[in-house]
Point group: C2
């Protein structure tokens, strides 16, 4: 087997590092942000635009693709790459997060502790046993069962280059006992995922050379995170994700990363699931994370928020703000993206006011390009030994890890 | 003044002709279809995609642009070309059609006789006097007045290369007397538009070299069409539009064109407003029309209808049709558009099922490219003396004008 990850540069002031992840659809230079194409499309954007703006790898969601159009159809059509016209690397998550997410109505809020549990509704929509998760479709209420084996088989049909173990996502307020119990089950599921992956018949699959990543749990508890990191790292995965509850606020998330990464091997890539804020990217890279994904750039785009290089605005501008009405400047001065090369804030403001689809397209593209470009800056800075300076420049404060 | 139109080729079997329309933003080879960017955006498409797929000129709607973002803002921002990032020719209509359209809730149906009049609602929303049309905004109900002079001033602010006289649009069932009365008023308004245009201060405008087209009315009545054609042709316009009621069905529309074109001068371009069906384009070109515009390719795209080269399907396929679910073929075999070069019917079918925005973008682009490519085929065929053969090939019947 080809080694999945090669470190190429290290930062002196932090755990930040550069590397290359090898995949069946080409190499990926890390640290990397991957745009999310939940349902086989990075919303409103073309694969060619993504490529032209520096996207190296995109993420698809197993849960959504399983329900529609279905992994069997995707396999018959030659896999997701061919179906959606993206010939670069793809990662699929396991479906675990989404099974819970669409039931809570926003697992991100739940995981991050921003809303109370809804145990009654949860029990109605999803049931967790030692063997499986039984859930209802968000599309039509139909009943589905995901086992670890089933998740891996579905991901085999989709054909992404990197696939991920199936996990349970305990609520933020689950407490130590349930988090430990759930983690242990996720570890048992990891072994089943690995076995299911090793048992596949590569010749029958759209992508015979898929890599399987394990997923580290343990919530906000340092001893559980260490135990999970050590356990999952020892099992022979091609890479590692940090999943589960990341705490109620950003500082706690950075702590979770810091209490996990030291127990991960140096020669495997580390993916922090679902993170994409500018400060979170810097803080997590500084703590040794290599890979990120988040729906935020396209979701923000649909809601009229553009990313800008301004920590005082939390890197965000609402394009509906009346101050942009006659502003001839691009969304971000100096941004080389298609949107900023050709369109003014005034035009984009108008497109959102007029509810013209093209506005969503332009801001989504800018936001994705913004994060891709930021990650390229981070890679260059690490390579040139000035990550701490870049951090200070972007965040307006010194790097302290 | 530079002559606006130069005929370059003529068909032997019909009135079809090729020519070049000169504008401040470059020449336009006719016969031509212009995609419609009602509100400063050809819905879901970029100016670069339009250009790459052969768009020579696009149309903007004065009524919409007047209400939002406003012609004064557009003038301050350097005109519509600069605002929307399209550096090719633009034509704006006068606002007349739209003032009535948005009140009827679909003037196209009314003009084409497909629905009864609603005189009570009409009187509440719009009032026509000798001097002006008073109407309420579809956005907020606010009251606005368009005079011929005002329409031209608004179009000066927008800065299109070709602007159009303000007209009244009488209902299809108006009858001979009202149609004649309305036509006479539109003629008086034409003189006022011409005067307002000649009185402008070009140096103060975003586009100093705008051409003004007259608009021929007369409904479905041959003597009125002839009278209007002769009157408007004599007034010194740079081109001529055929407007007003075009009859209840396609055959009547072709008759209206045939009863009008013989009374138009050979050296001015002829624009048939709001027409874009494949058969209508062929029949109208055969009767001497040079220019077309229609929202249909993007509107059809938003509703999941793709244009195809099949007269038995009326050139349309519903992409939601289950037969496309696993169809690896492009929307149209051999189509060189971006959509057909990269995506299958199966993927597009799925995108519409999943309500992904990218589907609208792909089908809208294909539909626009389809009509642009059809018009290029028509131009080549006229130039090579085989327009009748192309007509027979596309429509499955011999050309008979």
């Amino acid at each position: 087997m080809i080694a999945t990850f090669h470190p190429t540069a290290r930062d002196n002031s932090s755990q930040a590092r550069c590397g290359v992840v090898t995949t069946a659809h080409g190499p990926v230079a890390t640290p990397i942000f991957m745009p999310v194409g939940t349902r086989g499309s990075v919303k409103a954007l073309s694969p060619h635009e993504l490529r032209d703006h520096g996207a190296q790898i995109i993420l698809g969601n197993t849960y959504h693709l399983y329900l529609q159009p279905g992994h069997e159809l995707l396999a018959r059509r030659g896999g997701l790459h061919r179906f959606m016209g993206w010939d670069g690397p793809i990662l699929t998550d396991s479906g675990g997060f989404q099974v819970f997410s669409l039931i809570y109505g926003g697992i991100a809020d739940e995981v991050k502790g921003r809303r109370p549990q809804h145990p009654a509704r949860l029990n109605d929509m999803v049931k967790v046993t030692e063997d499986a998760v039984i859930f209802k479709s968000y599309l039509d209420g139909s009943r589905h069962i995901f086992t670890p084996e089933r998740s891996i088989q579905v991901q085999h049909g989709i054909g992404a280059d990197i696939i991920v173990c199936f996990d349970e996502l305990p609520p933020f307020r689950a407490g130590y006992a349930y988090t430990a119990e759930s983690m242990a089950r996720t570890h048992r599921w990891a072994a089943r995922c690995l076995a299911a992956h090793r048992d596949r018949d590569p010749a029958s699959l759209p992508n015979p050379d898929q890599r399987l990543f394990g997923i580290v749990h343990g919530g906000v508890f340092a001893d559980l995170r260490r135990a999970s990191a050590e356990q999952i790292s020892s099992m022979g995965f091609d890479g590692l994700c940090i999943g589960g509850s990341l705490g109620a606020e950003k500082a706690q998330m950075y702590d979770v990363v810091a209490m996990t990464v030291p127990y991960l091997p140096d020669d495997l890539p580390r993916h922090l699931l679902g993170v994409g804020d500018v400060d979170d990217l810097f803080e997590s890279v500084a703590r040794g994370i290599d890979m990120f994904d988040c729906v935020s750039p396209t979701r923000l785009g649909r809601h009229g928020t553009a990313l800008v290089r301004d920590p005082n605005r939390r890197w965000k501008v609402n394009v509906l703000n009346a101050a942009l009405r006659e502003d001839d400047a691009p969304l971000q001065a100096g941004c080389p993206c298609y949107t900023c090369r050709h369109y003014s804030r005034a035009y984009i403001h108008y497109l959102y006011r007029a509810k013209e689809l093209f506005g969503i397209r332009l801001v989504s593209l800018h936001n994705v390009a913004f994060l891709l470009s930021l990650m390229a800056e981070i890679r260059t800075a690490i390579g040139e030994g000035r990550f701490a300076a870049l951090y200070a420049d972007w965040l307006g404060k010194p790097l302290y890890v």
